[in-house]
């Protein structure tokens, strides 16, 4: 096969975060037809939850949105949201993939994105995209600016589905007859010659970290919660405030939350914790910020400079052990310092930088694809290049392979595409 014939190739990309987007766009540029499968109703991955990204403090939406638009406008890319891979058969050059596509109940062609359907919906619930800091309806768009700009109905919460009620309030509010309760979940069969796995990662469930006092209430927050609090399109429109509405006069960021449990360093937390110093000091210049770290891991040519810029704005404390307990309206921190002394500190707000873990369903997916999973549960083979999965025709990109920053994820997406295109041009011989 020649390179030009890769135009006839269909490729499946699983996961539409930055790595999946990059892989899809590059494959489409090469001439391939791409199925970009995403289980959420929106795409963009974790990146679109951030207001800014280190180390340039670049606006994350401004970075991601043009790429997302490109995906939506590219005829060679079929974005399948609310979809999950259920079955994979075959081998390099000839895979058959079963994808389960959940009904959105909103016709994307008819919907014009006016959001008039939200208001009348009687169901209100915490918005997961906003880390439960805001509310949404059962028919919803996860956040302003979410793409695709088409709402979806949460069948686990909509009373039509949960209580079998004949509620048509959203349908009545829609002037465009875009709401279609007759939509059905579908099972689609795709023929593809290659698969790129870009399913990303999750954060470890902070409520499991008993000694760190996280409960989803009170004044202990996760990194993603702070991201949404600072986000200009977030639930507070960028106002950093405590759950009770108070402005914290002191805050502490705790690195390596859950590192003992995972047994590895999640690579990006030191940098984003330093970014949080910028977040906090930018919005709340009078708030004292403490940073509890174990080892400052800021690899790469650019990060030290950022660290040096932040370090004067924050009280950096090295800790060996640390535990957290609520203390009235504040949070009590007891810790053993790097020097071995036992200390205590009270702050209004505590932010955890939780460990990155393989994304939900990774194990199942690995089984389905027949690819290797390392000891930590991330995908990838330990013998070849990081984009190799251990199985021909299937490649790994981004945090699905292990913790990394956006730049490294995007690079690896390129590597996965490079391996695929190269192998495809050789007819997958030797794969």
């Amino acid at each position: 096969m020649t390179a030009a014939s890769s135009a006839e190739d269909n490729v499946l990309v699983i996961g539409a975060g930055m790595a999946g987007i990059e892989a899809s766009l590059t494959l489409a540029e090469a001439g391939a037809k791409v199925y970009l499968v995403e289980r959420e109703p929106l795409f963009g991955g974790k990146t679109i939850k951030y207001e800014e990204v280190f180390a340039n403090m670049e606006c994350s939406t401004c970075m991601a949105a043009p790429k997302q638009q490109e995906v939506l406008q590219n005829d060679r890319i079929e974005l399948m949201t609310l979809s999950e891979v259920r079955e994979v058969k075959g081998e390099a050059g000839d895979f058959t993939v079963g994808v389960h596509r959940k009904a959105r109940y909103v016709d994307a062609e008819a919907c014009i994105g006016c959001n008039a359907c939200f208001d009348p919906c009687p169901v209100s619930l915490p918005n997961e995209f906003e880390e439960n800091l805001g509310e949404r309806k059962a028919i919803y768009l996860p956040c302003p600016g979410a793409l695709p700009n088409v709402p979806s109905i949460d069948t686990e919460r909509c009373v039509r589905f949960t209580e079998n009620k004949e509620c048509t309030l959203c349908q009545e509010a829609c002037m465009f007859e875009a709401i279609d309760f007759n939509q059905k979940d579908e099972d689609v069969e795709l023929k593809v010659s290659g698969i790129i796995v870009a399913t990303g990662s999750d954060l470890i469930d902070s409520s499991q970290l008993k000694e760190l006092g996280y409960s989803g209430e009170g004044n202990v927050y996760t990194a993603l919660e702070l991201e949404r609090l600072y986000a200009s399109n977030g639930p507070t429109e960028g106002t950093i405030q405590l759950r009770d509405g108070r402005t914290p006069s002191s805050a502490a960021i705790v690195h390596c939350a859950g590192r003992k449990d995972t047994g590895y360093c999640s690579a990006v937390c030191c940098m984003y914790s330093l970014k949080f110093v910028h977040y906090l000091k930018d919005k709340l210049p009078d708030t004292t910020v403490h940073e509890f770290y174990t080892d400052m891991c800021i690899p790469g040519k650019k990060y030290q400079e950022f660290h040096d810029r932040m370090k004067d704005k924050v009280n950096l404390v090295r800790y060996d052990e640390l535990s957290v307990s609520p203390n009235g309206g504040s949070v009590g921190i007891s810790y053993k310092s790097g020097a071995g002394t036992n200390e205590k500190l009270d702050v209004d707000m505590l932010i955890l930088a939780p460990a990155m873990v393989p994304s939900r369903g990774a194990e199942e997916l690995a089984g389905m694809l027949g690819i290797e999973q390392g000891g930590r549960g991330f995908f990838g083979s330990s013998t070849g290049s990081p984009a190799e999965s251990g199985k021909g025709g299937i490649y790994v990109a981004g945090c699905a392979q292990g913790p990394k920053d956006i730049g490294q994820s995007v690079a690896q997406a390129g590597a996965a595409v490079g391996r695929f295109l190269s192998a495809a041009s050789r007819g997958f011989s030797g794969e």
Binding site: S60, P66, E237
Partner: protein, 145 residues
């Protein structure tokens, strides 16, 4: 001056950040004074100082240039050049006492709908305070003295 003053502001918005920010403000239904009409350009660096001058001379009560925050430019460094050109223009206006407050440069990112609305509100209030562009007042020859 019988008629109520309705400011007219020309806003040059960069396609990637500020125009998108204005759309997000719209999507969030943020109320804004009806003073401003956008002109989309691909990058704030496309905004030619002569064009801004012309807007002013053609009677614009205010001219807003909005682009990506420094470091965020979709074209790498365009907004830094835009900033220098704007600074020169503003200095010319200052030196000649041409009401430089009518010119504004603001950075608005694609997610900052709220900020965009604030910029529009603030600038509109400022312009309302300044009153009409002197070009729209009586010509120099017949002012009372």
């Amino acid at each position: 001056m019988g008629e109520e003053f309705k400011p007219r502001i020309v806003a040059f918005l960069c396609n990637w950040c500020s125009y998108a920010g204005a759309d997000v403000a719209g999507g969030s239904k943020l109320e804004m004074p009806p003073t401003l009409t956008p002109i989309k350009v691909m990058c704030s660096s496309r905004v030619d100082p002569v064009m801004v001058t012309l807007a002013f001379l053609r009677g614009a009560d205010g001219v807003l240039i909005a682009g990506c925050h420094p470091g965020d430019c979709h074209y790498d460094k365009g907004n830094y050049y835009a900033r220098r050109r704007f600074a020169v223009l503003k200095t010319i206006f200052e030196t000649l006492d041409l009401e430089p407050e009518r010119l504004r440069l603001s950075w608005v990112s694609a997610s900052e709908g709220q900020r965009y609305a604030e910029v529009v509100r603030e600038f509109s209030a400022k312009i309302a305070e300044l009153g009409p562009n002197p070009r729209r007042r009586q010509p120099a020859g017949i002012k009372e003295s």
